[in-house]
Symmetry: C2
Subunit: 342 residues, 2 copies
DNA sequence: TTGTATGCGTTATCAG
DNA sequence: CTGATAACGCATACAA
């Protein structure tokens, strides 16, 4: 298998007996090039199967139209939708997308960020790992004048663009809805409070209770009920209380809510009449459980697009004084049968 | 906002009053470099916050440790799992992953492939778009000596590495299972027959019928029942036949199977007693419908890993005479309630 | 409009 | 072991 050298602009310059720079100009559609020679170059380039070497071009131009993305897990509905949304707009702009996953590990996140810095990407888009750690690596990104956009799980202190959901509002809306449906002992399944989004969701829950004059009951708030299993476990505990809740808001995820539903079904507890259930994320399956699960849609695909738009807008405005902006996307409560009493 | 020049090996060479080439050697951990100077270089490099410019390095070395991936849709369980699996092993090897989605469009797929060729990636991993078209772009990849690995939906004629599921076997197993459960009029929801995987699944269906001495009934085979909606539509038709089927194998996807289930439920048809249902892909939701849906697991994450392994194995063996290999992964039938009569 | 020369940041080759 | 120099492929400032 012979390693066949790829044709360069020199090859085609030689063949045409013109200078390489002319070929370069013709290829880049420069205005200062004869239409005839341009056509000729384009034609022979096609014949010779020429494909530009992006590494050389980008090196020379000193910029790389590539965006690096770091997410905790690629194969999670929310994140894969974000990536799909990003790709949608970066494709239009002719940008490439380099994807890394941190697997929720800090050390790995740092690695990924360094790799992206090496690649001289124009922008890094990141949702930080659950595992805590320093933010040096992110500061390094900023120090090198690489755009940094945080989304969903963000480090507040860092002065960067941020695209987030209004978790507090969404959470507030969900609990108010439960209250309006006549539920009065509403339990909360919370996520790790080191992560801002989970703190915000709890805040929304507390505010809704307060607003409605309901007491905050410690024993109705369960920490770290993140997964389906943990959700189920927490539910078992909650339902065995002397005064069990009549609704459970699984603020962590729909998977957690699913755990709730399964335990309730197993115990023969009627949902939504005896127990209301609300999840978070609008995973596809929430629509098809029985009963279907009320949840919160985060518009993940649009969010991905919004993130990319933010980058390109700022790039094109070239307003160097632009303040780092925070875009808040309002999630929407999707009311389904698991909370609809009639 | 001042554009702060990034430190290069020259900067650190100057500071240390040594040659840039020595810095390069020290950084790349070359054997022919004094331990003392190496340590010194490493130290100052860290101090000066040096990060290598991968574009320059790769250009010079003439290779780019990056793998390009083209999938129809990033945010589809199967594909995002594949990508996660790929990332798992490419990360270990220090490779980057550039992701593109064709959106099932041929023209866009061609675009993506060209972009990847420009990037001088070492390998392109692709699952082709549903929309038919020429395979010139793939041939171009091969012409440039870039490794090409096809997976799942592959172009048979092209002499490349392939990682596929044994769709025929899986399909055969599923139908045999239905027959063993006592179903005797088994309908098939098929996908576009231009795509090999759907042809193979149909083949498995036909073989199972033949093997068991059942007749092939044309009116029980529905074309293009790909989505949930189309699956539902096909089911409505099937169930209104004079002699309706007593089982439906949605070979296209679990979404299609879900459509079947919804129609059956709406019509009050008992699943699995009056109607057996089997899907394809083992989407997460199949576990939680009622009844849960029998389906086929494709081990997508392991498949992603297998694909990457294939590349690196071939790379490391550097056996230039290696025949393009085909790796077939055996999917597994997951038997659930929708086909379990007792 | 076209050609010449130079540099982007590295690494590899050659002397020393 | 180290330093000077060329080259990777392209784009641009400048000269013609």
């Amino acid at each position: 298998m012979k390693r066949q050298k790829r044709t360069t602009i020199y090859d085609i310059a030689q063949k045409l007996n013109i200078a390489a720079s002319s070929v370069s100009r013709a290829l880049s559609d420069s205005s200062k090039v004869n239409a005839a020679t341009k056509a000729l170059v384009l034609k022979t380039a096609a014949e010779m199967n020429y494909q530009q070497n992006a590494m050389a071009s980008n090196l020379r131009k000193g910029n790389n139209p590539t965006i690096g993305v770091v997410v905790p897990r690629i194969n999670q509905n929310f994140f894969s939708n974000i990536i799909a949304g990003l790709e949608e707009v970066t494709y239009e702009k002719g940008y490439n997308l380099i994807i890394c996953q941190s697997n929720e590990l800090h050390a790995r996140e740092v690695d990924c960020v360094h790799a992206l810095i090496n690649q001289h990407v124009s922008c890094i888009i990141i949702s930080i790992a659950a595992e805590a750690g320093s933010h040096q690596h992110l500061q390094q990104v900023l120090d090198r004048n690489i755009r940094l956009i945080q989304f969903d799980r963000v480090v507040d202190e860092l002065d960067t663009f941020k695209v987030i959901n209004d978790n507090e509002k969404a959470s507030y809306d969900a609990v108010m809805h439960l209250i309006n449906q006549g539920y009065s002992r509403i339990a909360l399944l919370e996520g790790p409070q080191e992560i801002d989004i989970f703190r915000q969701r709890k805040e929304g829950y507390l505010k809704a209770l307060q607003k409605s004059g309901f007491p905050v009951i410690e024993e109705l708030m369960c920490e770290n009920a993140w997964t389906k299993e943990l959700g189920a476990q927490a539910t078992t505990q909650l339902l065995s209380l002397p005064e069990p809740p009549d609704a459970i808001f699984a603020s962590t995820s729909d998977f957690s809510a699913l755990g709730v539903l399964e335990v309730a079904s197993a115990k023969g507890i009627a949902v939504p009449d005896a127990l209301g259930i609300c999840g978070y994320s609008n995973e596809p399956f929430t629509e098809i459980t029985s009963p279907s699960i009320t949840t919160i849609d985060q518009f993940s695909i649009s969010m991905g697009k919004a993130i990319a738009d933010l980058y390109f807008q700022e790039l094109e405005s070239s307003d160097l004084n632009a303040e780092p902006r925070v875009v808040s996307i309002k999630p929407e409560l999707i009311i389904r049968k698991s909370t609809t009493r009639n």
